[in-house]
């Protein structure tokens, strides 16, 4: 039963990926002017280069064929050439992938540990803990990552000197240091949402009738919390956390720019500015794929946690 749900969801996600790749590819044709000028970013090119572009992108073929070639190439790791860097897009991506990956992972960790943790504490200990979590999340929920970035840089880098302000590190440990403020900036508003949802979910579960049944059978409090409240609340908490983390992928671009990190997102923005379309397409495809993969993982988790899943699609 759960397999049918999963199969359906994964098919949807694959569909999403295809549609997204189609849109990314089709952007070439939406651009004003002809595809060649779009690819070259409006620069004038020598006829030889134009010929190369025509061949590489099969610009003389029908649209769908071109799409097919592009997709096929992409699946084989060939994403074209960057006009501005004169490098393979895939090597550009490979070089920068780890920064972005590390950043998102670090932020995800913060969201899970601090976000879910504070939500559980707030739900189970009404009073001062609850109020302080509520107040802080109300403020931080509205904090856009780039605003958080400048505040963090000001306080923790300039004033306190605890962390470096900009750039990447050289080895693992200094990488972690350099990524800390960016990870916090990236995580901060999502953290608030996850905390609130966790708090709401745990409180709601605690009030449910099946918990009453367990109480009436004399189940001790700690076991009650673990097996009946948290276990059940894990379902909405996991799904919200998952989709929140997935959304980090896009916002990472903003944080990378603010902190001058050489990640995929920052380069995406630069490529967009310089109209290096092949790079934009390549990185967009990678990011969307990552987004879809994370969503798929969330679906898997959801199916694992909720046996009723065959009854309906993932409640979002």
């Amino acid at each position: 039963m759960r397999w049918r749900f999963l199969a359906r969801r994964l098919a949807m996600l694959l569909g999403s990926l295809l549609v997204a790749s189609f849109v990314i590819f089709g952007a070439l044709y939406l651009a004003p002017g002809n595809p060649i000028s779009a690819l070259s970013g409006g620069r004038a090119l020598p006829p030889a280069s134009m010929h190369v572009l025509e061949q590489r992108y099969h610009l003389n073929q029908p649209f769908l064929t071109q799409y097919w070639y592009w997709l096929d190439n992409a699946l084989h790791g060939n994403l074209g050439i960057s006009i501005t860097l004169q490098q393979n897009v895939s090597s550009v991506i490979a070089a920068r992938m780890w920064t972005t990956g590390g950043l998102v992972l670090y932020a995800a960790l913060i969201i899970v540990v601090v976000g879910i943790g504070s939500g559980v504490v707030a739900a189970l200990r009404p009073g001062l803990a609850d109020t302080s979590v509520l107040v802080s999340t109300a403020i931080t929920a509205a904090l856009p990552s780039f605003v958080a970035a400048i505040v963090l840089i000001l306080v923790f880098s300039v004033k306190l000197g605890w962390f470096p302000a900009l750039g990447n590190g050289t080895n693992f440990w200094s990488n972690v240091q350099h990524l800390t403020l960016p990870a916090v900036a990236l995580a901060i508003s999502s953290l608030a949402i996850v905390s609130r949802v966790t708090r709401a979910a745990v409180r709601e579960e605690a009030d449910r009738e099946h918990v009453q049944t367990a109480v009436s059978r004399g189940i001790p409090a700690r076991q009650l919390i673990r097996r009946h409240i948290l276990r059940n609340a894990a379902i909405p908490i996991a799904t919200v956390s998952g989709i929140t983390i997935a959304s980090l992928i896009a916002v990472a671009a903003v944080v990378e720019t603010a902190f001058s990190l050489n990640g995929l997102g920052a380069y995406l923005v630069q490529a967009a500015e310089s109209k290096d379309l092949a790079v934009v397409q390549g990185i967009s495809l990678v990011l969307v794929t990552a987004f879809v993969l994370i969503n798929a993982a969330v679906d898997l988790l959801y199916a694992a946690l909720d046996p009723r899943v065959a009854l309906g699609s993932r409640a979002q």
């Binding site: 939406l30 780039f146 605003v147 400048i150 840089i153 300039v158 967009a272 109209k275 969307v288």
Partner: protein
Amino acid sequence: MSAAIGIRSGPVAPVRRRGALGLLRSTGVAGMASAAVIAVAAVLAIFGPLLAPYNPELPNLSMAWVGPVGGHLLGFDFEGRDVLSRLLAGAQSSMIGPLAVVAGSMLLGTVIAVIAAWRQGPLDTVISAGLDIVFAFPGILLAVLAAAVFGAGLTAASVALSIAYMPYVARVLRGAAMKERGQPYVAALEVQGASGPSICLRHIVPNMLPLIVAQATIMFGWAMVDLAAISFLGLGVQPPAANWGVMISENQPGILQGYPLPALAAGLAIVAVVIAFNVLGERLFEQAQAARR
């Protein structure tokens, strides 16, 4: 035992509608305070450039980074322009983009949601599947793509965000529309011969209005954040135009050099307005949910 208590049942016409002022009052102190902040921001959006005491775009490098002095409450930015004036003038571009995004996505989303809920059957399945599929595209990514293709600017970014937000709106509203659709009064109206579109326009949508307004308010906050981020990245509003997102990005070097005020002021403006929209939106959402029980 129900015979012991008289029960009257039957299709009853749509719910009572409070006036806008009554609705506002019911959102409590926090809600009303937020509405006040939003009202101020709206006034600034319209009259900002006129209210600005000094020229927001004319550079004067000799005054770069100077702190608050004389009539310049917030000091000068990296190009020697009065920060306060730039803030006031920037309200316009910072608010108009989100307005367009919300209008576009809510309109489109509502239409799609109501059609799906009304027709049901295979059309609904296709629409739902379609929504599920396009759900996956993060707004900022689409905006960056749009900027790469059409060039940087507020228009491209706003359109892209509208498109990206629409599936979410349609999802939320479809649920509500389906609930309305299943109400007895709709069946009663159908039996009386009212047409689909007229029922939708005159009854279903108005009954969803509290939810629509709540959703729009919350989304305005998101759109503001996303658009400010895009302007921050340099792909939205272009300098030297005044815009809060742009102001943060262009004054960011000041943070490192010991002149944090211009960037912080712009950041505070964004945060204040977004919080206001979030708080008001949440309160309105609670009201909408309570009214539906």
